[in-house]
């Protein structure tokens, strides 16, 4: 799945510092501290529990903090991450985070609306919205495909798997 390698800039080139990696290091440190702090709040286990519930969290949290420090030091020394490539990935262009934000917005709308509107509607909107964010400009067709997909999956789950997905406002219609 991942074809990643990393390169350490040699002494000959100008030293590049991947500043964003400090952000990753900070994230790891925060996660590590949260894990350890959470573990200190645990009560001692039962007498038949030879491994305390807090044991593994202490190990994992400490390791994350150590790794955060290691990463920060390596970053300062010029360790640069090599982003993952792929068939549809063009790393020569700058990252387009605006598209990602649009996708996240569409996704979030689905999270907020799925309970009230139901999957059959929000699923269609999710597909059409994502296609639009990714550059498709045939809105009617996209909504039609989305609606077909969400209805097929709704009935597929209901009939094929016996899993009724909550219908939302379409309760009784579907």
């Amino acid at each position: 799945m991942s074809t990643t390698t990393e390169t350490t800039t040699g002494p000959e080139g100008p030293r590049v510092v991947d500043r964003a990696q400090y952000g990753l290091a900070a994230f790891l440190a925060v996660v590590g501290v949260v894990v350890v702090v959470d573990a200190t709040g645990l009560r001692p286990g039962f007498a038949d529990q030879p491994v305390q519930p807090s044991f593994l969290p202490y190990v994992v949290g400490t390791a994350l903090v150590v790794l955060a420090v290691t990463l920060a030091v390596a970053t300062a020394r010029g360790n640069v991450a090599e982003p993952e490539g792929g068939e549809d990935v063009d790393l020569t262009e700058p990252s387009d985070w605006f598209t990602v934000a649009k996708l996240a917005g569409v996704f979030l709308a689905n999270v907020l609306l799925v309970d009230t509107l139901g999957w059959a509607i929000t699923g269609a909107l999710l597909f059409a919205g994502c296609a639009w964010a990714l550059g498709s400009r045939t809105l009617l067709k996209d909504v039609a495909i989305g609606a077909a997909l969400s209805l097929i999956t709704w009935y597929g789950f209901y009939v094929g798997l016996g899993l009724p997905i909550p219908a939302g406002i379409l309760d009784g219609v579907l």
Binding site: T3, V31, E87, D96
Partner: protein, 503 residues
């Protein structure tokens, strides 16, 4: 043998045959499609495990696994950018062959080689898995704990090029595995009852594979579409057969053992196979310009390693690839624990699964030779639809776990973690394996110490555990030495340069 024939009969019932066909077709399709691989597909198809019987689901999953391995080769031959890391090597010669008008032969040697390798390797699997299983069944919790530790270290440190990044991914995975109340107390739930049952592995896998990939691609979508080389029906002449059969067999010999190793995977054996074929070939001038041996060997290695992966998965309960990790989780969701007891407790299931691997392999050959032109067309799917579809099915997969919008929100958050992992080159496999094996690690440790009454020395009381710890220590020492040497070499180089500058 009787067990195997019973399994074969069960695998050939119309219903199970149908699941095998669906699995093989779906697997090849997702292997061909960019941005989506077998591991992601299994994660997305998880809902079927709620109602479909376990043998049918596993038959389908096995078909997807084998099909995905094969489909990846079509992409790397017809497009010059390999999707799965296991088909990087195939792309070198395969794409050159396609550019010189020999796409049909490249696809043919890949398909037939995959069949030959898959069949031999599955036979080896049938021979070895029960033996490994009956050896492992003697092991106690201490040895099992040691093997788990070794597997986690191997997956993080041996695969991929950066050990630090492997361990970062592993410990993030272990941290995710801590969430929940499995030890009787709420850990990392932040008081939320929604997190009390822990974070479902399906949600994690779908988020990291599907959402992370789709968002990452969205940020870097290629503006100019890649050129797809058109192809007709794959075929080979006598000369191609003559040049292919030995690389197939050698590729199988590389692929199977590496697949069966805790840190094997498909990358190393495909690469070894390529180097070997380049060295042994009678046509060295063709290498780099489309030598058929360079496609035949790695493709065989690739499929043989997929079969090899099933040995530790079934016999020990250890996943060594992301796809195997999801399969393990699927088997567990039926309340069945893969591992040494599996062959005794569920013989019908195991032998049906093993027999279905032969069936899947044969189906792949029969279906894929005529269908190749259609697979090539799949490469032209409009990208907005492809990635919108991935996001759609990812949402459905996570939502169907418990119909909680909360899971969808979690999916988005972990999806951003997946994007960050791709941006920072963190490997995905250690994280997924950490999430899945984290609870087992804690269980085995608890079990071992409970039996010994809390005496820690029990952990190295068994011979197997001793050997495993010795291997682990040796590996860690070797890594440390290599790291120090690498640093010293670099420092030496930079001091030489400084002298040159000052002189």
């Amino acid at each position: 043998m009787d067990l195997f024939l019973d399994g074969l009969m069960n695998a050939l019932t119309p219903e199970n045959l149908l699941y095998a066909v669906i699995g093989v077709l779906l697997g090849t399709a997702v292997g061909v499609l960019p941005g989506i691989g077998p591991a992601m597909t299994l994660a997305l198809l998880f809902p079927i495990t709620y109602t479909v019987p376990v043998d049918s689901a596993l038959i389908m999953f096995a078909g997807i696994y084998y099909g995905g391995m094969y489909g990846g080769s079509t992409t790397s031959i017809l497009l010059n950018t390999p999707g799965e890391s296991s088909s990087v090597v195939t792309a070198i010669e395969g794409n050159q062959m396609a550019k010189r008008g020999r796409a049909a032969q490249a696809l043919a040697t890949a398909a037939i080689g995959s069949f030959v390798a898959g069949t031999i390797a599955t036979a080896l699997l049938v021979l070895f898995a029960p033996k490994v299983s009956s050896a492992v069944v003697q092991l106690g919790a201490p040895s099992y704990f040691a093997i788990l530790l070794l597997a986690l270290v191997a997956v993080s440190a041996v695969l991929g090029s950066s050990k630090m990044r492997g361990f970062i991914a592993l410990f993030l995975g272990l941290a995710i595995a801590l969430v929940g109340t499995s030890t009787g107390q709420a850990r990392l739930t932040f008081g939320s009852p929604l997190l009390a049952d822990g974070i479902d592995v399906v949600v994690v896998a779908v988020a990291i594979f599907a959402i992370g990939e789709a968002l990452w691609v969205a940020a870097h979508l290629r503006r100019r579409p890649l050129q797809v080389i058109p192809v007709g029906r794959p075929w080979m002449d006598r000369k191609d057969w003559g040049r292919s059969w030995k690389p197939w067999l050698r590729g199988t010999a590389f692929g199977f053992p590496f697949g069966a190793l805790p840190a094997g995977g498909a990358e190393v054996p495909t690469f070894l196979s390529y180097i070997t074929e380049r060295r042994l070939t009678k046509h060295p001038e063709e290498f780099g310009k489309g030598a058929i041996e360079g496609v035949a060997g790695p493709e065989a290695a690739n499929n043989a390693s997929a079969a090899g992966t099933m040995v530790p998965l079934l016999a020990i309960g250890l996943p060594t690839t992301a796809t195997a990790a999801i399969m393990l989780n699927a088997i567990q969701s039926y309340g069945i624990q893969p591992g040494p007891q599996l062959f005794d407790n569920e013989p019908a299931l195991v032998w049906t699964l093993l027999a279905s691997l032969f069936v899947a392999n044969t189906l792949l050959l029969v279906l894929n030779l005529p269908l190749a032109p259609i697979w090539a067309k799949l490469l032209r799917v409009p990208r907005p639809y492809l990635y919108a579809g991935i996001l759609f099915f990812a949402s459905l997969g996570a939502y169907s776990v418990s119909f909680e919008p909360f899971d969808l929100a979690l999916l988005l958050v972990l999806g951003f973690l997946g994007v960050a992992m791709r941006r920072f080159g963190l490997p995905v496999l250690p994280l997924i394996v950490g999430v899945i094996l984290g609870p087992s690690l804690e269980n085995q440790l608890t079990q071992a110490l409970a039996l010994s009454g809390g005496d820690v020395s029990t952990l190295w009381s068994e011979p197997v555990a001793k050997v495993v710890y010795a291997v682990l220590v040796l590996a860690l020492v070797a890594m440390a030495v290599a790291a120090v040497r690498g640093r010293a070499a670099r420092r030496g180089a930079s001091s030489v340069e400084k002298e040159e500058v000052s002189a």
